[in-house]
């Protein structure tokens, strides 16, 4: 019953999406009324919301006649993880994808932009919507019936029932990915929109900022989830799934920077297109089983269709934005230490990092047909390529405080103290410890950046003016956040220590001044899952012992064991204890103890960076002090208050 309703809902949604795309096309080509097209967009969103709601209802009611529920639901799954299991597998997560995409489409439809630019942008967004609705309806319909109806299901992948971040991380990531469709749509719409075209980048920037903030939060949260759940103690493995989220982040970051400078239309278009094309490519990589990954939770037959759509999008973008009109030359030499130059240098570096990550991720796909063997690319490659480039980007970031100063020698003077601080950091840290050249350079670069930012902030706060507004400080906050992330990454990889051993009860495992003593092993058998936990007494630097309990959980329904690490978070370091195995008689336990310094800085810096994006977006949403150039356009129609009219 629910299944039939859901299938019907998807079919209606597909019809609505197709009709909406055609309606917007009529608006763009013949100047038809916007109102009907807006209603179509709202109806499409409503259909996506209905499909999500129906599948959620089926999950909550344990309606195992619905295929997705039979494969991912379970009577023993806690309520929260039943709710989040909507996006624990491909078919359901496509519905969330549609909901988020529909939300962006509805928001974009309600805004008042130059009419033809707006209409063409809506055509692009609607066509993307059509494709994913078609995918969901024909190839990945979660509502298909199952017979015979099972009495219980296996529940979602056990790894996805371990951490409350499961409720936030995927939606946030989708909000980031799909928000990038708006700059992409504007970039494609601009050449088609005639007089309305120029200036699109300024309109797309707030959307890109929101998407970028969500993507930053999503990537950061994914790293945190990986650290807290997967139990291997790391947060980034250069895994295809992780790389797929990093790629659009890199190009979107470059886009946000180039849009700060006027007259870089070619760069704006290329970067805006690249960002969303990389989102589509990442979707193909991670949703098709094309590349082996530690945590690709899906394996589906969608690969060829996704790849086809990626290629179609690439061709359309190239054809539409490929022809360039010459711009009048500008007089004057650009200064080396000017915003225009530094932004471009930084953009080129980010795009190069993106190229490194992209080729590293897709090489296994290329080698299979060419050589017959599956070649893999390990973390070592990225450490030799992407990491040094990232350190260079950090150094370029440190130059920013000098950019707002007109006079060259004054600008250089601004950099003296930060440079001294950076070099001093390298000297001091390098003479007290041996973190290795890459980490040491990262520390120095972070010192350079943070000192420069502090000086810049002091300068700004001294003089009243618009440069003290929170929105203007967003860039500072973002740079500070990223410098903290760099310190955290460099510190945890350079100073992290670990040891593993099989302990008898009463024995102790030491790493530096941290020690764990095995007190006992408890076994608890639940329905459908068994757990073994080790009780360990943790002592750090002579303080009183605390009891920690890392565990191993076995999920019978999926025949998998999950390690649940015990993480002791401190101000400067984490102690990370994993239970690897327990002997039959519970007399011994194999334990891994790791001390991870400065990991907290990664999460704090990531959060700060994500918040900075929202700060900047909020600032652009405020009315400008200068009235924007008036565009001749009919009065925007009153917004249709459909069910999808989000406020």
């Amino acid at each position: 019953m629910l299944g039939d309703l859901g299938t019907a809902g998807l079919a209606v949604g597909l019809a609505c999406a197709t009709l909406t795309a055609l309606l917007w096309l009529r608006v763009a080509l013949f100047g038809a009324a916007v109102r009907t097209a807006r209603r179509g967009t709202a109806a499409t969103l409503a259909a996506a919301a209905l499909a999500c709601g129906l599948l959620e209802t089926a999950l909550l009611r344990h309606d195992f006649s619905v295929r997705f529920v039979a494969e991912n639901g379970g009577r023993d799954v806690p309520l929260y993880y039943t709710l989040t299991s909507l996006w624990s597998a491909l078919d359901g997560s496509l519905l969330l994808w549609l909901l988020v995409l529909g939300g962006y489409a509805a928001l974009l439809a309600r805004r008042a932009y130059p009419p033809r630019l707006h209409a063409y942008a809506m055509v692009v967004v609607s066509v993307v919507m059509v494709f994913f609705f078609a995918l969901s309806t024909f190839a990945a319909n979660p509502f298909r019936a199952v017979s015979p109806v099972p009495v219980d299901g296996p529940g979602p992948n056990p790894l996805l029932q371990q951490h409350p971040a499961m409720g936030v991380h995927p939606p946030l990531l989708y909000a980031g990915y799909l928000g990038l469709v708006v700059p992409f749509a504007f970039a494609l719409a601009a050449p088609l929109a005639g007089r309305d075209g120029p200036g699109w980048a300024r309109l797309a920037r707030p959307w890109a900022l929101v998407a970028w903030a969500a993507l930053t939060g999503g990537v950061g949260m994914g790293a945190w989830w990986s650290y807290a759940v997967l139990g291997w103690g790391g947060y980034w493995a250069w895994d295809p799934v992780e790389n797929a989220s990093l790629l659009p982040w890199l190009t979107a970051t470059a886009f946000l920077h180039t849009t700060l400078v006027r007259g870089r239309a070619a760069w704006h278009g290329a970067l805006a297109c690249a960002s969303f094309l990389l989102v589509l490519l990442g979707t193909f990589l991670t949703r098709s089983g094309a590349v082996a990954s530690v945590h690709a939770f899906t394996d589906s037959p969608l690969g060829p269709m996704l790849l086809g759509f990626v290629l179609l999008a690439v061709v359309v973008s190239a054809v539409v934005t490929g022809r360039r009109a010459p711009e009048p030359a500008r007089p004057g030499r650009p200064r080396a230490l000017s915003r225009a130059t530094v932004v471009l240098v930084h953009g080129v570096l980010l795009v190069t990092i993106a190229a490194v990550v992209l080729i590293g991720t897709i090489l296994p796909l290329l080698t299979t047909p060419l050589t017959g063997t599956r070649s893999t690319v390990g973390p070592a490659y990225y450490q030799r390529t992407a990491v040094p480039l990232a350190v260079v980007v950090l150094l370029v970031m440190g130059v920013t405080p000098a950019l707002r100063v007109r006079d060259r020698s004054a600008a250089l003077r601004r950099l003296v103290v930060p440079a001294a601080a950076g070099l001093g950091t390298v000297a001091l840290v390098g003479l007290l410890s041996r973190p290795g050249p890459a980490a040491l350079t990262a520390f120095g670069a972070a010192g350079f950046v943070l000192t420069g930012l502090a000086g810049d902030l002091a300068h700004r706060l001294r003089r009243p003016g618009p440069h003290r507004r929170p929105g203007r400080l967003a860039g500072l906050v973002a740079h500070a956040g990223l410098a903290l992330v760099a310190v955290g990454v460099a510190g945890s990889s350079a100073y992290g220590r670990d040891a593993e051993r099989t302990l008898r009860v009463g024995e102790t495992l030491r790493v530096g001044d941290v020690a764990v003593r095995l007190v006992g092993v408890d076994r608890t058998g639940g329905s459908g899952s068994m757990a073994v936990q080790a009780r360990l007494a943790l002592t750090a630097s002579g303080r009183a012992a605390r009891t920690i309990t890392p565990a191993l959980r076995y999920h019978a329904a999926r025949d998998t064991a999950v390690t649940v690490p015990a993480i002791g978070t401190g101000p400067l370091r984490d102690t990370y204890v994993t239970l690897l195995a327990v002997s039959e008689d519970s007399g011994t336990a194999s334990v891994r103890l790791a001390v991870n310094p400065l990991v907290g800085l990664i999460w704090a810096g990531g959060a700060l960076t994500a918040v900075s994006g929202l700060l900047a977006a909020a600032a652009t949403a405020r009315p400008r002090t200068r009235p924007a150039a008036r565009v001749d356009r009919p009065r925007p129609a009153p917004v249709a208050a459909g069910p999808g009219a989000a406020t």
Partner: protein
């Protein structure tokens, strides 16, 4: 004013020198990582996805770690151990194989991107030149555009519908054949006279590929490890399916002989009847003729 500048420059140069010394000191440090872990981290676990031997929990990785530790204990250095693995399992066993052939793309693509990006940036910044700007505007004929685009949108939906109908779920390509690696490892362990560990590896391989040839290798390993009872069980298991299996008869006979079983003679004679040209036949004839108790080794 000038002396201030000189002082600032001096301070910076001093700091730079100190930083350079610190970097040199850090670069000269081979790292406090233990060498076995460093080697294992550079080897790919064949039975898992994207994990190194150092991080993986699979039995194969454990055996590979053991091999690494043994070889290091024999006084080989990390490079030699790595080379040994490459010779046996091919360059793909390394997490970071050398850049040859297709792998040159790993360096070529980023370098080309950097060059192209740099060139584009220079062109953008070059003063006085006519620069490429925004995309050239399109002026499509509205009616024709409408026909083409509307047909295109409907075709998109139709093509997804048609393709979706014909697709089967993909077969998962294994990253490498874990069974082959397990067998190779077991063989290596046998050459090092570590028959217990070899038997474990064979059992691991059997779990993925229940194959009688592997079962016989397992039986041999068990026999040499001194577990005659298990060797007999395994050999009988094979003989139940294939009563004339020469290797099965050979292992069974030798195991029975070790356990002083009276059936040993019959089994070994049966073996000779089935496979008179077997490499071990001459040895067995000698044993039977001498009537000595073979040690099974």
């Amino acid at each position: 004013m000038r002396w201030r500048r000189v002082l600032v420059a001096l301070a910076l140069v001093t700091l730079a020198a100190a930083a350079g010394a610190a970097l040199a000191r850090s670069a000269g440090d081979p790292g406090r990582q233990d060498p076995a872990r460093a080697v294992s981290a550079g080897l790919r676990c064949p039975a898992c996805q994207g994990e190194s031997v150092a991080d993986s929990r699979s039995p194969i990785a454990a055996a590979m770690r053991q091999v690494v530790a043994d070889q290091l204990a024999q006084g080989r250095d990390g490079t030699e151990v790595r080379r040994w693995f490459v010779q046996r399992y091919g360059a793909d066993v390394l997490t970071d194989p050398p850049a040859t052939g297709v792998r040159l793309l790993l360096w070529g693509v980023p370098v080309l991107t950097l060059l192209a990006g740099g060139y584009a940036a220079l062109r953008t910044l070059r003063p006085g030149a006519a620069r490429t700007g925004s995309a050239a505007p399109w002026t499509p004929d509205a009616r024709r555009a409408w026909r083409v685009a509307s047909v295109g949108v409907v075709a998109l939906v139709a093509s997804v519908a048609i393709v979706a109908d014909r697709l089967d779920p993909p077969a998962r390509p294994a990253p490498a054949d874990p069974v082959a690696v397990a067998l190779q490892l077991a063989h290596d362990l046998e050459t090092q006279d570590r028959y217990d560990a070899a038997a474990q590896m064979y059992q691991e391989a059997l779990r993925d590929r229940p194959d009688d040839a592997v079962r016989l290798r397992l039986a041999f390993a068990l026999l040499r490890a001194g577990d005659g009872a298990a060797a007999q069980r395994t050999a009988r298991d094979v003989l139940a399916r294939e009563p004339e299996s020469p290797d099965g008869l050979l292992v069974l006979g030798l195991a029975q002989r070790n356990s002083r079983s009276v059936e040993a003679g019959d089994t070994l004679r049966h073996f000779l009847a089935v496979a008179p040209a077997h490499p071990a036949a001459a040895e067995i004839r000698r044993l039977l003729a001498a009537g000595r108790e073979p040690t099974g080794r």
